[in-house]
């Protein structure tokens, strides 16, 4: 195993020797692999081994962090000792002795990536390629890429936490390019899972997903430019949830709330959204893409109701930021790897089911944009201003989905958009994403039912209608 208990205790002791009041050791061993195919041929295959240890010490509101690739006890004790020099306090904190190692038992996988032959993985990717390529003659290029990893973490801290777990992730990205007369458009799908390969054998049909990527590329190739202006927008379920993730989720993370830098500061138990909005961040969903047994401070992951019927109920809070806030930690601390000190992050974040249906929402919209597939987006938590790309869009005319449009983007303000959600359907579903922020790039699910925003700025090349 990663580091032995005695050494962990010694590192923690060394870390607290100068007056730090909290110390933590995070050990990681990750085996990852990737295979890239272009035009159905394998171009690159890479395997990677990541091994490292991160040491964090806190004293009141200050923290120091350092990491090393070395497993050598002297190097790690020196790292802890070097870091501890940042603090001098007469009052010393005595670390709690580590007890039995707690092993995370949820989110087990049946077929680990480590037990599947490379040739079998390649075969899967090629099938996906063939399905997408055969979809239509305008499909000129298809890239199918596999990324997978098995991360083992061991976390120990001065409060006696001593936990370990394995985290498996597999994702296959399918990028189809449709072209005609010098024009090119893309379609992208990227199913992923916190299960093992059983997901691709039992839960989803990769070829159908590949055809869907091709369908989007073809649809967008023949689509007109999106008109611009302020209009109602119906955002479909699954990845449509990126809107809540970017527009509101980031501003509910302690990373910005603790510093009073979020538009949602001081709004607990106040109404921040239209009364039909309930939003949840749940890191406990069985084998969820953003789930884990423990957060990266070693505390149990939790289900957090962020907004309930429009009322702000909770932020997402890590241990150190909780010291600045009158708010208990919520098991929300995450990081990409030992190269990052952890901070509060989302896990699987979604808006909960409403009472409308998809058909009702479309039928009651006279004119607007139907965003069937969203691309990514970003937010400035300081102002709350956000943007998203729409990767598959259609005009809604007289309550019916009409012609496809491409190149649309949505811009708005996170605090405002929550009030403008006026219809929510009952078809909640989630989709995979990679979220990049202060503590690196981590897997995070986004999700929602189909919903309507009564008015939002749509940007497109066609100009005002």
């Amino acid at each position: 195993m990663l580091l032995d208990k005695h050494l962990l205790e010694k590192i923690i002791e060394t870390a607290l020797a100068t007056g730090g009041d909290f110390a933590e050791v995070y050990c990681e061993e990750t085996v990852s692999g990737s295979i890239q195919t272009v035009g159905g041929l394998v171009e690159k295959a890479n395997s990677r081994k990541i091994v490292g240890v991160g040491v964090r010490i806190a004293h009141k509101l200050q923290s120091v962090y350092g990491f090393s690739n070395s497993k050598n006890p002297e190097d790690l004790l020196k790292l802890a000792s070097d870091l501890s020099k940042s603090f001098t306090d007469e009052t010393k904190t005595k670390p709690t002795k580590l007890g039995e190692l707690e092993v995370g038992k949820k989110h087990r996988v049946k077929i680990s990536p480590l037990d599947v032959k490379q040739s079998e993985k390649v075969e899967m990717l090629k099938k996906a390629y063939k399905a997408a390529k055969a979809y239509d003659e305008v499909i000129q290029q298809v890239m199918v890429n596999l990324t997978e990893w098995v991360q083992t973490v061991l976390i120990a801290n001065s409060e006696g936490r001593y936990v370990t777990e394995d985290r498996t992730r597999i994702r296959i990205g399918i990028n189809a390019i449709a072209g005609k007369d010098g024009m090119m458009q893309t379609g992208y799908e990227a199913p992923g899972t916190g299960k093992g390969y059983e997901y691709f054998m039992e839960d989803v049909n990769l070829e159908d997903i590949a055809r869907d990527a091709a369908r989007i590329a073809k649809t967008m190739l023949f689509a007109d430019e999106c008109p611009s202006g302020v209009m109602p927008v119906v955002i479909d379920n699954e990845f449509g949830g990126v809107i809540f993730h970017e527009a509101c989720g980031h501003s509910l993370e302690a990373t910005s709330v603790a510093k009073n830098a979020s538009v949602f500061c001081g709004k607990l138990n106040q109404q921040v959204a239209s009364a039909i909005v309930t939003a949840i961040d749940d890191g406990t969903i069985e084998n969820g893409w953003g789930s884990a047994n423990f957060d990266d401070e070693g505390y149990p992951q939790q289900r957090r109701v962020l907004i309930e019927n429009g009322i702000l109920k909770s932020y997402m809070v890590d241990k150190l930021n909780s010291r600045r806030m009158e708010h208990q930690p919520t098991g929300s601390s995450r990081r990409e790897s030992y190269r990052y000190s952890p901070t509060s992050r989302m896990s699987n974040t979604f808006i909960d089911n409403g009472t409308s249906t998809f058909d009702e929402i479309i039928a009651s919209t006279e004119y607007g944009l139907y965003a069937a597939k969203m691309g990514g987006g970003s937010v400035n938590p300081g102002s709350g201003d956000f943007n998203f790309a729409v990767s598959e869009g259609y005009i809604i005319r007289n309550g019916k989905i009409a012609e496809p449009v491409r190149g649309a983007s949505l811009v708005g303000n996170g605090a405002e958009i929550l009030w403008k959600i006026d219809m929510i359907a009952n078809n909640l579903d989630r989709a995979r994403g990679m979220c990049g922020s202060a503590s690196g790039s981590i897997p995070a699910d986004v999700g929602q039912p189909t919903l309507r925003v009564s008015s939002i700025t749509v940007g497109g090349k066609k100009g005002a209608k």
């Binding site: 035009g39 890479n46 081994k49 091994v51 120091v64 090393s68 983007s409 749509v458 066609k462």
Partner: protein
């Protein structure tokens, strides 16, 4: 020892040639909040990429530990990964060039050895200046980060190369508040010379620029002439830098396919890749494949003159590598748009009815490097008859990258290297589609 043993065992297992690329990073970062040191991080870490040719195909393994125990795994994994490769690309491990540029100013010992306490003082000083710069300032996060990056390449063809650079950045984010609005300002100075940090002037500019955006609102949708500030242009250029990669072109993923030698932009546009740029932590005399890097013009006075190549793409196009093989793919080192003759004020004065765009957001999703289309969130100021007016936010600016290059009417002389590693001035372009109210 590790490398020699690895080479030996690989050869025995039938791997014809092997190359190791070692990357060592020594990092320091400091964050100050409300006048106090909040976060302090140090690290020293290594990673190694090992590539080996087995039966004509390239296998790859990356590791962060160089245990001799791992060698057998490395060798067998390289063979295993080479076996599944079925693209006809010829795998090459490079014997080297006759000459590599001598780069002298990339590592500054003075910066590396300077007392940490002095660095912390500098950050605290900047933090205090941010707070004092204007009564609207409410929250400030100030940071400093420094890295020393050493790369070493060694292969069984006898090539051994070494490069050491260091760089640091100092800057921060400020939140400014008025009664009815909250806005942010952010900037960093990236250099390897501590003397380049002028806190007084820098803090005034960051805060001043942020305060000016208070009260920013959308404007009516329509067509507006645009001046892209150098920071905003840097984001755009960065989002589209991939289209110059021959790999993207050969795979049919670049809109520049078939355009070599033709005019793709205004004659004011000269875009270069300068791997020898001073004070850039990306500067290198060789790429990750061991090929000597070189200065090149990608677009010369509007004409597309070359793509960027690694060994593989060069072979396919029957040219020589441009020394742009990085991370197993192809990318520019220091992309730069050469400056023109106008000051930024002159560019703004050219606008009759338009927007001076200071910031664009969302390029990772809202810019499609395959089609060239973009629709990005923008901020800036309304300009009427050359005079800067009210601040503007929550608008989108939409267009196509190639059309943008063609529509450049004037190029500024205010070059700066931005956060995304692109060096460019501000530019003035013709009318673009803006969505707002």
């Amino acid at each position: 020892m590790f490398i020699e043993k690895l080479f030996e065992k690989a050869k025995k297992a039938g791997i014809s040639d092997v190359q190791v690329f070692l990357n060592n990073m020594n990092e320091l970062s400091i964050e100050v909040f409300e006048g106090h040191l909040e976060k302090y991080e140090i690290s020293d870490s290594s990673s190694m990429v090992i590539r080996g040719i087995y039966q004509g195909k390239m296998g790859t393994y990356s590791t962060e530990i160089m245990d001799e125990e791992l060698i057998d795994t490395i060798v067998s994994t390289i063979i295993e990964s080479a076996k599944i490769i079925d693209s006809p690309d010829e795998a090459v491990i490079y014997a080297g060039d006759s000459k590599y540029e001598e780069l002298t100013d990339l590592f500054n010992e003075e910066l590396k050895s300077m007392d940490v306490a002095k660095k912390i003082e500098k950050v605290k000083n900047l933090d205090a200046l941010f707070h004092a710069a204007d009564p609207h300032v409410s929250i400030v996060e100030t940071m400093y980060a420094e890295q020393t990056k050493t790369v070493m390449l060694q292969n069984t063809k006898g090539l051994k190369l070494f490069n050491k650079v260091n760089s640091s950045m100092l800057g921060g984010q400020v939140i400014v508040k008025s009664e009815s609005d909250q806005r942010t300002g952010f900037d960093l100075i990236i250099t390897n010379d501590f003397n380049d940090y002028h806190n007084e002037e820098f803090s005034k500019k960051v805060v001043g620029d942020a305060v000016k955006t208070l009260g920013a609102k959308p404007i009516p949708s329509g067509n507006y002439e645009i001046v892209f500030d150098r920071d905003a242009l840097g984001v755009l250029l960065s989002a589209f830098s991939g289209i110059f990669s021959a790999e993207a072109v050969q795979k049919g993923m670049s809109l520049l396919k078939g355009k070599l030698g033709s005019t793709i932009g205004s004659d004011l546009v000269t875009l270069v890749d300068d791997p020898f740029m001073k004070k850039s932590s990306r500067s290198r005399s060789f790429d990750d494949e061991g090929v000597a890097t070189k200065y090149k013009e990608l677009i010369k006075s509007g004409v597309l003159t070359t793509f960027l190549h690694n060994l593989n793409t060069a072979k396919k196009d029957n040219v020589t590598s441009t020394g742009n093989g990085f991370g197993g793919s192809v990318s520019a080192v220091n992309l730069g748009l050469l400056p023109g003759s106008h000051s930024k004020d002159e560019l703004i004065k050219m606008i009759k009815n338009g927007i001076y765009v200071t910031d664009v957001q969302g390029a990772h999703a809202g810019a499609n490097s395959v089609s060239g289309d973009f629709s990005l969130q923008a901020m800036g100021f309304l300009v009427k008859d050359g005079v800067i007016g009210v601040p503007v936010a929550l608008i989108t600016v939409a267009g196509n990258f190639i059309k943008l290059l063609q529509d450049i009417e004037a190029v500024g002389n205010d070059v700066k290297t931005g956060y995304y590693g692109i060096t460019c001035p501000s530019i003035k372009v013709g009318p673009m589609v803006v969505a707002g109210l």
